[in-house]
């Protein structure tokens, strides 16, 4: 949901005359929303600029994004060559649903719905 919130914000800022670049790791959400400039780092969600401690990739992400902001003549998606150096199964493991966690996820959903209803009853909603 983070990627959607910033994508909607980017579109608004552009209408306001401010050049934007989204730097993220959820290509489908950002391109579905459609933003003017997107720099994609194929990394686990949580470190969109580069892995923890990887100062080189973090700097490269910012420099690439600034160049996109200045040089792009039309909407663009740029994919960097950043790569996760740890466990190669991270994509398969993220938000995985199988028999091992099905009951736990159902309980989590029930708790979430209960919490939402309580918040709404307390006026904690927008």
């Amino acid at each position: 949901m983070c990627h959607q919130s910033v994508s909607l914000t980017a579109r608004h800022l552009e209408e306001f005359g401010i050049a934007t670049v989204v730097i993220g790791s959820a290509m489908d959400i950002v391109t579905h929303c459609n933003v003017p400039r997107y720099l994609h780092n194929d990394l686990p969600l949580g470190n969109p600029l580069g892995s923890p401690g990887d100062r080189e990739t973090q700097l490269e992400s910012v420099l690439s994004a600034l160049q996109l902001a200045i040089s792009a003549e039309h909407s663009v998606v740029q994919v960097s060559d950043a790569a996760w150096k740890g466990d190669g199964q991270w994509k398969e493991n993220y938000n995985k649903v199988d028999q091992s966690n099905r009951q736990a996820l159902l309980r989590l959903g029930q708790e979430n719905r209960k919490k939402r209803a309580e918040n709404k009853a307390r006026g904690l909603a927008r």
Binding site: G50, I70, N101, L105
Partner: protein, 149 residues
Amino acid sequence: MERTRLFYQAQGFEKAYTWAHFEGTPFAKPKKPLEDCVVTVVTTAVAHAKIPKPIRRAESIPFTETPARFETSELSWDKETTHTDDRQSYFPLEILNRLAGQRIIKRVSKRFHFVPTQYSHRATINTDAPSIAKACGEDEVDIALLIPL
């Protein structure tokens, strides 16, 4: 998106979430070279975790008051694979300050911007994004880097 849909379906949510979708995109090209541009950051990290999540709104906070550590635990990122202890992996304050010192950009804007993660498209489009745009205008921002976790 498909992975997320299946994840929420497994949690018993009957109606699939409708992701925001637009055919075209607005496009603003900077009218200045990079060295004359003021740059800001929009993050989804949480600056003030004491405000309950359901009623959190966009905030524009002076960079000089940037918290040493943001709250990220309530956001949906890959907690099994990585961590967010390195703030520079999602919030490039040190890098931007360095680029300003090297005159690669003109300066970092007075304020950075926190946009709450919202299921409601309407809340972002009608309230949060305009609030951030207004603050960016006041701070004479030319380029915004939007960096979601």
